[in-house]
């Protein structure tokens, strides 16, 4: 077992947990999701999901972490193993290693883009090259090829992974906690500065074609008809799920460094609400209002129709900042800087569980454990980098960053509520609590939250192309279920891919890349399962 490590301060812990939750999605995904799913009305299912699914999951994950941490475990196989006598509990925990390792691989790649964009904003690259031309060239995308060899992107990616590894090697207090204490206040300051500057734009300012308040109205105007649609509810629950970083195993890991009687109820609620503040107040006031001011509402509506603000954030905003005169390079650096801080505080949280697993369960020294994490992240990330045009990156995002999280969260909440038991679970959540957790959550955790997560999982599995009501009507008329290509079933069945084949004219296709990536992810999962099996067998043999 590793030497017992603990958080240096309570503020550091809350900021690290909030930093884990605050990610690029707070600024790029939330506003687009809200605008595409009912505007202001989206906030109703969003906040309901936060209370009935987000907060309970936060408390459960903190409780699982603190409980297992007392036995010297800091990663989900060991933490879940301590919740019951069933032999398979540790294998459910493999999902917590799998998501952290594989999500970090592509997440560090996105993080490296933000760092590269800070550099290029400061050096004035976007004054000479439009980001719409710069970005595909940066990624090494060439027409008709599924492979990329982007030297510059590789440099920034390696640099980003090395930076993460260096911080992880400094340990909990001098690495992760310090990064959160510096990164989170800077992120808040950068976001507030840009939001104020953006919302004060007026028609008549250079390049401004519409009031930014029109964009704000687009995000917040409630379209109540959306509330009747399951799509809106699933989108809101999904957004809550991903924004809080639940179902990953990183919250468990951080909480495992708490002392036995240290509060988790207030700390978890505080970290969760801080994430909501960054997302709802700051995230909703930046991307769409600024883009609307310069591009007009119609262009922004078209760009965010799919529920993602990624295109606006990376391809459009750098050009728009050029209208801010001498402040342009700084504005670009602030925007991508805040995205970078949002990213690195999350990627550190993905690295620590892997490092902790190697240290705790396989007795690997810290530096070697960090090096192993860095090497694995680079190797898996190389697949995302080099096969980006073929869709490897999207496959990682879908299977690891979307499906695996929901499956793991459903597993852990059922284990906590039904195997560990709510009597013990409630004691664990409320021990040392500085916040009176309403007793209703005892029942919510056991019954309501699992149903909520199961609905999200079912929605992801069988999501139809188009509206649910239309799809049900089609099914009842005997026309079959119109699988969405974005659903799990649709991905497996290659729905909407009429020309499915591995090679075309002797050259590999995107279908081959996607299937190969899925096979790789499965192999990683099985490999981690094998490591867990080896670690436990080894311990059994060493036990007196």
């Amino acid at each position: 077992m590793s030497q017992p490590a603990h958080w240096g301060s309570r503020i550091g812990l809350v900021l690290a947990m909030a930093g884990n939750a605050v990610g690029l999605g707070n600024f790029l995904r939330f506003p687009a999701q809200a605008a595409a799913n009912g505007g202001g009305a989206f906030l109703i299912p969003y906040l309901v999901s936060f209370v009935l699914m987000g907060l309970p999951l936060l408390w459960v994950e903190w409780a699982i972490g603190r409980h297992g941490g007392q036995y010297g475990h800091h990663s989900t196989p060991g933490l879940l193993d301590r919740l019951g006598r069933q032999w398979w509990l540790k294998y459910v925990g493999v999902l917590g290693l799998f998501t952290n390792l594989t999500v970090a691989a592509y997440y560090c790649y996105i993080e490296s883009w933000t760092l590269a964009y800070v550099w290029h904003s400061l050096t004035g690259t976007f004054r000479e090259h439009a980001p719409t031309e710069f970005f595909p060239a940066y990624l090494g995308i060439t027409e008709g090829s599924v492979v990329a060899w982007p030297a510059q992107a590789v440099f920034w990616f390696v640099f980003t992974v090395a930076l993460n590894a260096w911080l992880l090697s400094r340990g909990l207090e001098r690495g992760i906690e310090l990064a959160a204490k510096i990164g989170m206040p800077l992120l808040l300051a950068f976001a507030a500065l840009l939001a104020v500057r953006g919302l004060l734009l007026e028609p008549g300012d250079p390049g401004v074609v519409e009031s930014p308040l029109t964009g704000l109205n687009f995000v917040w105007e409630p379209r109540l008809s959306g509330l009747a649609s399951p799509t809106t509810w699933l989108a809101a629950a999904g957004q809550i799920f991903f924004t809080l970083s639940v179902g990953m195993g990183s919250i468990h890991c951080y909480a495992a460094y708490l002392r036995r009687n240290q509060d988790i109820a207030l700390n978890a609620a505080s970290a969760g609400w801080l994430n909501e503040f960054v997302e709802v107040v700051l995230g909703g006031s930046l991307l769409i209002p600024i883009a609307t001011a310069y591009l007009g509402l119609q262009a922004v509506q078209a760009a965010t129709a799919g529920g993602s603000g990624f295109e606006l954030g990376f391809l459009t905003l750098p050009t728009l900042f050029a209208n801010w005169g001498a402040f342009a390079p700084v504005a670009g650096a602030l925007w991508f800087g805040l995205l970078f801080f949002a990213g690195i505080t999350s990627s550190l949280a993905m690295g620590q569980p892997i490092v902790a697993f190697l240290e705790d369960e396989l007795e690997v020294p810290k530096r070697r454990a960090v090096a192993a994490w860095g090497g694995a992240t680079l190797a898996l990330g190389a697949v995302c980098v080099c096969l980006y045009p073929g869709g490897a990156f999207d496959e990682f995002d879908f299977w690891s960053g979307t499906v695996a999280l929901v499956v793991f969260a459903l597993g852990e909440i059922l284990i906590f509520g039904w195997i560990f038991g709510m009597d013990r679970g409630w004691v664990e959540i409320t021990r040392g609590a500085d916040l009176a957790v309403p007793a209703a959550f005892r029942w919510i955790i056991k019954y309501v939250t699992p149903v909520f997560i199961a609905a999200v999982l079912l929605g992801a599995l069988v999501q139809p192309a188009g509206e649910w009501s239309d799809a049900l009507g089609q099914l009842l008329r005997g026309g079959g279920w119109p699988w969405s290509p974005a659903s799990v079933a649709g991905k497996v069945l290659h729905a909407g891919d009429a020309d499915y084949r591995w090679f075309a004219d002797g050259r590999p296709t995107a279908d081959l890349v996607q299937d190969a990536t899925r096979t790789l992810l499965l192999a990683v999962f099985l490999g981690l399962g094998g490591l867990v099996r080896y670690a436990w067998r080894r311990r059994m043999q060493e036990a007196p």
């Binding site: 505007g39 906030l43 906040l47 105007e221 700390n267 609400w273 909501e276 709802v280 107040v281 500085d434």
Partner: protein
Amino acid sequence: MTRAAWIMLATTWAVVAAMTARTFLRVLRRSAASEEPRPGTDAERRDRPRGGFRGARDRGVPR
């Protein structure tokens, strides 16, 4: 912005900001209270009678 959008924005911002402030300020208060240095040197604290009862008895206060 429409009136409905303003109402939605103001309500949501108020709820989120209030809950964030309420929980985070409480963390700050608890954190400050637990990290506040106790008076005296380490040696003085070690030698100081523990518990109100012994202290009270030492000062001659009847039980």
